[in-house]
Symmetry: C2
Subunit: 248 residues, 2 copies
């Protein structure tokens, strides 16, 4: 078994944010596996097979990648952002755990995670430094967890005065979740708290907008948006939004 698997983060969109480590892994790969818009970011070349799949089949995709690596291929699974933040790395380790039941030798596969610029950090950089002090990252998608847990974490984060990054704010399946999250945050943090909506960050469709919680509307976000809620200390200076290092 001479194959290997890398789980690589392509960053939020701009090629200038792909690390040399990831570029090198892609240049040496025999197989690239991933959700089709991410696979499309890897150009075709001789010797490379691209395996694009639909969304929400993470475990199947992870198992395919493990099988290819076990067959001796140099496989790269591509994620947007960072593979360890609401992306493919966890799915691969879940699939590995399941695969070990019928294929115990998969435990010897070399697996590396190659970090990338996750959306909240690219969004924060564009806005200024809204995550400049203690912060939380919460995935609002409730495909895999109950809404009660999301609400408990939102409330804990707001009450302890963290800045908060919300990933996947509006899923098609449960569009009302984000409206409830905004209500909860408005109630806990008050209407003056700053909120940045960062859509398609670092791509040609990028749109960054900062408003108060009082003015925030659910339809300002879609599935390509990451939402950054400030802490009580977050403020504006000229065109920038930032959270000072000093606690309020």
């Amino acid at each position: 078994m001479t194959g290997a698997l890398a789980i690589a983060g392509l960053g939020p969109g701009a090629e200038a944010l792909v690390t040399p480590e990831v570029a090198e892994a892609l240049a040496e790969a025999t197989d690239v596996v991933g959700y089709f818009p991410y696979v499309a970011r890897v150009p075709e070349r001789p010797g490379l097979t691209r395996h694009a799949s639909d969304n929400r089949v993470e475990l199947d995709r992870a198992r395919l990648a493990l099988d290819l690596a076990a067959a001796g291929r140099r496989v790269v699974i591509v994620s947007s952002g960072d593979p360890g933040v609401f992306a493919m790395a966890s799915a691969v380790f879940e699939a590995l755990e399941a695969a070990l039941e019928d294929a115990p030798d998969y435990g010897h596969l070399p697996i590396r995670v190659l970090p990338g610029i996750t959306a909240m950090l690219a969004a924060a950089a564009r806005a200024g430094a809204p995550l400049g002090h203690d912060f939380c990252a919460i995935n609002l998608s409730d495909n895999l967890k109950p809404w009660a847990l999301i609400e408990r974490r939102l409330r804990a984060a707001a009450e302890a005065d963290f800045a908060i990054a919300l990933y996947n704010p509006r899923s098609k399946a449960r569009p009302e979740g984000f409206a409830r999250a905004l209500d909860l945050l408005r109630e806990t943090c008050g209407p003056e708290r700053l909120v940045t909506f960062a859509r398609a960050v670092t791509t040609p469709e990028e749109r960054i907008e900062t408003v108060t919680l009082g003015a925030a509307r659910p339809e300002m976000a879609d599935m390509r948006t990451v939402v950054l809620i400030g802490s009580s200390a977050t403020r504006r200076v000229v065109g920038h939004v930032y959270t000072p290092r000093q606690a309020s």
Copy 2:
């Protein structure tokens, strides 16, 4: 005023994790400003002036960078990791806010934040995917905030079952803080919870070790360590530590 300021993240240490965007900004800079070990990562070349300073003079350093940019220089402030995560970006916006009182034209300076791979994401990648679900980042340095606030945030994060990344776990000024944090976490999360100590990640001195909270000792961390506390769902699969996407 034709100068400009970029606040750039050099990533955790390895050159393969410096983004092309940051490499390009450094190649075009006339001046690099920063804490001396980070400035030392930028090679000398004709036309580049390197301004290295000691730690804990962030505001002076930020003001120097603003003054140089206002004088027409192309200035890059370098941070390790991501400049927006417990690094220089917030300090620059604080310094800008203060500078506007005596130099209102500084409000027109073009300032860009260039994101980088922050330590917790590089550490998580090396360990597996311990931050694969909702997580918090907390700076244990209490130079700028009261310990009571740190404790409140730790408790909130643990009670809401976030994974937790701790930055600057042991400061020379207050070495007992991390011991207190471990006690609080052990009490809230129990002794079986997994903890990863990641020191000098991606450098030749890298050391990654995962133990339980019951076995964790304060001296396992120093100022070059980032500490990742798992959620209740975090577990091991062969040599990897990961948090599944599914809530426990």
